[in-house]
Symmetry: C4
Subunit: 196 residues, 4 copies
Amino acid sequence: MTKGRLEAFSDGVIAIIITIMVLELKIPHGSEFSSLEPLLFVFLSYILSFVYLGIYWNNHHHMLHTVKEVSGGMLWANLHLLFWLSLIPFTTGWMGENHFTPMPVALYGVVLLMAAIAYFILQNQIIKKQGKNSLLKKAVGNDIKGKISPVLYVISIPAAFINTWISEALYVTVALIWLIPDKRIERTLEKTDDQL
Amino acid sequence: MTKGRLEAFSDGVIAIIITIMVLELKIPHGSEFSSLEPLLFVFLSYILSFVYLGIYWNNHHHMLHTVKEVSGGMLWANLHLLFWLSLIPFTTGWMGENHFTPMPVALYGVVLLMAAIAYFILQNQIIKKQGKNSLLKKAVGNDIKGKISPVLYVISIPAAFINTWISEALYVTVALIWLIPDKRIERTLEKTDDQL
Amino acid sequence: MTKGRLEAFSDGVIAIIITIMVLELKIPHGSEFSSLEPLLFVFLSYILSFVYLGIYWNNHHHMLHTVKEVSGGMLWANLHLLFWLSLIPFTTGWMGENHFTPMPVALYGVVLLMAAIAYFILQNQIIKKQGKNSLLKKAVGNDIKGKISPVLYVISIPAAFINTWISEALYVTVALIWLIPDKRIERTLEKTDDQL
Amino acid sequence: MTKGRLEAFSDGVIAIIITIMVLELKIPHGSEFSSLEPLLFVFLSYILSFVYLGIYWNNHHHMLHTVKEVSGGMLWANLHLLFWLSLIPFTTGWMGENHFTPMPVALYGVVLLMAAIAYFILQNQIIKKQGKNSLLKKAVGNDIKGKISPVLYVISIPAAFINTWISEALYVTVALIWLIPDKRIERTLEKTDDQL
């Protein structure tokens, strides 16, 4: 079983997901600037989801880089991840079209949480297959980012029913945590860990 | 003729099919949890078809792994398979939107049956090309899964007009037969065969 | 400049064209068998276009197989071909939804004709680049298929205003000419040529 | 980190963008030639955007050809470029459906400008990573095209509110500048530079 086709298929699916999301930016009927206004929230949601999918693609890329042999478990864990990612255009559109009302914002978080869990499962499948000297295990380290993210999602889901902006702020926070170049933050976190 | 492009094209088409299916999850107008209710059947259909396409991608992957030379017959047998798979988003959407009424459920089975037959034709094209010592023929063995699946589809199609849940149960059964790790089941089946 | 990316991009575009066509098979509201009836013509058009795109992908595959160096002219000739192919979902949908009325059937032929011309231009770009001992030139031979097809399209376009079934018969004929295994027909044609 | 997956992902996204644009060519209800008339502007916009995306794909192809090592900065600069390109189907559709009214024409230019800036950032990321003897830096030279294009976009955006045809003429001009074979123009421009 070759890694190449797994990567190609995942790239294809993520590329399609990231691109069909833009179809939710429905072309307005008027041609005034004001006719774009109702799209503001959809556009903001689009940016957020684009960044998330970019992060997933990027991390997926790195993770598979450590893989030599593909197992059946990996294939299905990968499809499971792609399943949750494929729902992002739906939750993005629902959240955007309803101008960040509680239920859609919460559901957006639920799908992000499920994707994070699916990513975690895939990571473990790979580590398990690689055995004791797992390269991925070393690369991931204590995986602080991977542990903080789901915690923040779990907070943001009920928070949507208090104030949706808390949830949005948390979603942006998670994205930023992953966007900031890996090495620097990891070194910092390792040092922090050492001091604790 | 190279195998690489055949794989890449098939991967592309399957990746697109699996992803555009999500477009049938039409974003509801309301923002209450209850506005998601009409989507329940579409969502269940989506999960089922996602798993089926995942299985097809996975098996296609394995099957082509044994191929060294691509023949014209293979190319067209492959396109024929992709044709039937490309109809899955349509039957998935029709079945989901009509909440599992008989005709759409039966048609869903017809398309699955045609895809299974197309897969079987492709498999035979490859075995034929590989000749006497066909690697694929050895790998497939007595192909119990490949023989049971169309039988279950053939039962599920008329069954939809009695009770659609029988058909759905059969579709889920076929998916499970393929999902359960290959090696273990094949060994079991081989032993069963030996005892007969 | 590498051939790989040209192939990958073309495969991607053709895979997407062939797949988004199915989105024109709009899911009917009713769940009776009769609610599928209005889709009959769309479905027939879909099959025809699927076969055409399959032929283009197949031939494109073979043609690029002879290419070693990619020129700027080839890149643009290839994009020009993809442009006309990208209009096929539109003409397919228009022809199908209007149940094969003259104008859409004629336009379907116009787009096929333009694609055939674009393919011919791309072929010439490659032969020109390969120089005197062009491998593609030898492979193509007298290119009888490539010369007959546009002639049949040119007949089928005005014929649509007399009887659209003449045009449809011609479109099917061209598809069959290309579908029948290459070698046998080429040998036959070569013999016929020799006798003339 | 491998270049292959970056190319494959970018190809995938650009292939999808270029193809889903055709979905904005909504199939008209009538089957007369006149029912195609309202689509004229959408079709013209489609051609223009198709050419632009072809140019971007082509240039992206060349640019990445010089890359050996992929940096994190490149990955994100690339995603940033894909983000702006992904908005082209939206601005194309809005411009086409409103028959080239000022605001949509201006917005079309804004997205082209942002894509040009994003491309420039990606180019700089690559040059920076390649260091002193950057191959890309030599290939780009004084980058006259890259400098003229944004200037023309900046002119065309306000010009849309005077006469949208000025803007359209400028968009076509930029496309032509890039379409004309690189080497000849670059040699000419270099000579012109020398004379200045």
